[in-house]
Amino acid sequence: MNKPATVDVALAREFGLTAEEYGRVLAIMGRTPTLTELGVFSVMWSEHCSYKSSRKWLRNLPTTAPWVIHGPGENAGVVDIGQGYAAIFKMESHNHPSFIEPYQGAATGVGGILRDVFTMGARPVANLNALRFGSPENPVTRRIIDGVVRGIGGYGNCVGVPTVGGEINFHPAYDGNPLVNAMTVGIARTDKIFLSAAAGVGNPVVYVGSRTGRDGIHGATMSSAEFDEDALSKRPTVQVGDPFIEKLLIEACLELMATDAIVAIQDMGAAGLTSSSVEMAGKGGVGIDLDLDAVPQREPGMTAYEMMLSESQERMLMVLRPDRTDVARRIFEKWELDFAIIGHLTETGHIVVRHNGQVEADIPLAPLADQAPIYDRPSTPPVPPAPLEPVHAPLSLDAMLIQLVASPDLCSRSWVWNQYDSTVGGQTVRRPGAADAAIVRVDETDIALAVTTDCTPRYCQADPKTGGAQAVAEAWRNITATGARPLAVTDNLNFANPEKPEIMGQFIAAIEGMAEACTVLDFPVVSGNVSLYNETRNPDGSTTAILPTPAIGGLGVLENAAQAIGLGMQDGKDVVLVGATQGALGQSIWLREILGREDGPPPQVDLAAERRNGDFVRTEILSGAITACHDLADGGILVGIAEMVMAGDVGCELDSPDSGIRPEAFWFGEDQARYLACVEDGAALCARAAAAGVPARIIARSGGRDLILPSGVTISIARLKNAHETFFPALMDAR
């Protein structure tokens, strides 16, 4: 690579450091840093690694509960799921790489999040994702979807971790900046969890996995910068994933973890060797000496700078007990993976990097961490949306329903999930589309996990605080609707440029809403990721920001997997609507798809009602009264009913609402805290609901092969499905 020889403030700026930040570097070092040192500072102090714009606000999220074993701060969050097992999970973004090279960007996103989870000792058992694409009319969108879906499948299918759920939205705000958020859930014994804090002066530092090449140098700083036309010329930073090696790495690491050889372990993610070595030593309060000559290299002639910043995939760094290095070496040789002792822990408190007999970097670790910049960036509070003027339905109920179930945000995702292996592992109790959350049994137990990803960006755009709370509430509801008890969340906060006060205002408000919801619902945040600067610079100099998108990954547990229920309509049941209906049409899908408008306030989130209604529904599921359940979200009651009908292949006849609400508002309003439930005896359920202070009413009777509207108009299941299934194949496989 072609790099200028002199390290100065100009070069620092090119590396993403401000003049003020470079001043701090000089003060810490007491001299001009070497190129490698500057590289280390620039990646460690990048937004991606240091969370400098977000850290102050992330502290407002609740992170504890009696079942939380490790909250944020470790590679992934850890919660106790009973019988001596823990679930370990996290979500992470690969937005910028997925725009530049959709296949590899998405694939390496999956690879990266898997490593965060198995590095803690967990066998990965489920992958999910949260995807946002630009307008379907934009020709680029199709290419990006194709690559992202192939990439997620290509990696997840090969490593043999089932992809069991996710979500997809379309909006022109993502035209130049799609979002690819990947989540992994793993299982470990609670007494076999591995952490990253290094310990034991003299202990060997061991590198395992793939060799280091010149991949993705400065990926971490790139993901902290806005996009412009130059982004495409940054292409050589694209990393190629090797899921085959990842699979071997998972097996080798788990085999080694069954011994007592490991003192500390961390994957090499963004900023590769730099962040892993700095963080491990920093957390352990020790120093670390690295000898780069020992690093397995894929290409000749790599410099220290390149090796320290390389983001080559499928690599891990470990500190081992010295008397166990041979055991470890044998395991990695069996799996035909590189294994190299590349350094040792010291008592200096410095990271010292040697290459070709020369000291290329010598940085005190404490100030590198402690003096990392934290910003309290200026913010302006979001403007509350104006109330929605009265609106009227231009079409008949059945025509609107058909249009909605066929729309990009509500249509079937089967074209997508049919490319993901959702059954490998033999533990998938509910596959995508079968329940509001996917259900995966824990091997050798009756326990099952319920997992989901959720966010409604258009609500967040209109009112970030309500949107933040809604995302958490929806994840909680999705888990509840299967019968599982929600335990904790991971999040992926995708926002635009935090240096703009209105974006910072969105960020702060969304966190406030999330924090309230997590608190009331006992649903703490145990891990997460922040992705900022998600905006595109247009040729005319203006910028397009993404919608604020705080994606939530939720996890819940069922003591007995057999108690999990799905959302498919069952024959001969009463269908009960649980929760109050006001007919909130602001920011609804109906408003957007039928009237072409995106305005008004999002539906209110009443957290006390969420809790009350959800706890009631869960109790009734576990008692066996409710036998199928679907939470209400996008599209409201009628879309929810249609989804149950299609999933169960059983029709139903709807009652007249006689609610005093206009029909379109009743049927398509998106009021929160609501569920549809199939029960044998609807009246009895409603009576129990009344006693619990939960609004409930019978809304339909199931049976037959049609959805029959109160007007008597009949819609066949075949017609619904035909509308529902068309969008993706028509967009993607157009010949």
């Binding site: 530049i100 010149r214 292409r235 990393q239 090797d242 085959f244």
Partner: protein, 80 residues
């Protein structure tokens, strides 16, 4: 006019396939194989055009569709 477009990963870009094949060749006793790289080859027939036009068209095809220039290079052959 027959045209052949060969698409290979750029130098420096990890080639997981090539690596795995190299490894397999070694175990099969081909110990002297080095630097195994795998690519795609697309052969086609271009109607009604000269060799020069064919080369030019193939170039356009490679840039537009056949190669992913983010990670791949291409080469064009028009057999005489």
């Amino acid at each position: 006019m027959k045209v052949r477009v060969t698409v290979m990963l750029k130098d420096g870009v990890l080639d997981p396939q090539g690596k795995a094949i190299g490894h397999a060749l070694h175990t099969l006793g081909f110990g002297n194989a080095r630097d195994v790289r795998v690519g795609k080859v697309i052969e086609l027939d271009l109607q009604d055009c000269t060799a020069e036009e064919a080369r030019k068209t193939a170039e356009d095809m490679a840039k537009n569709l056949l190669a992913n220039l983010v990670i791949e290079d291409y080469a064009i052959e028009v057999p005489a």
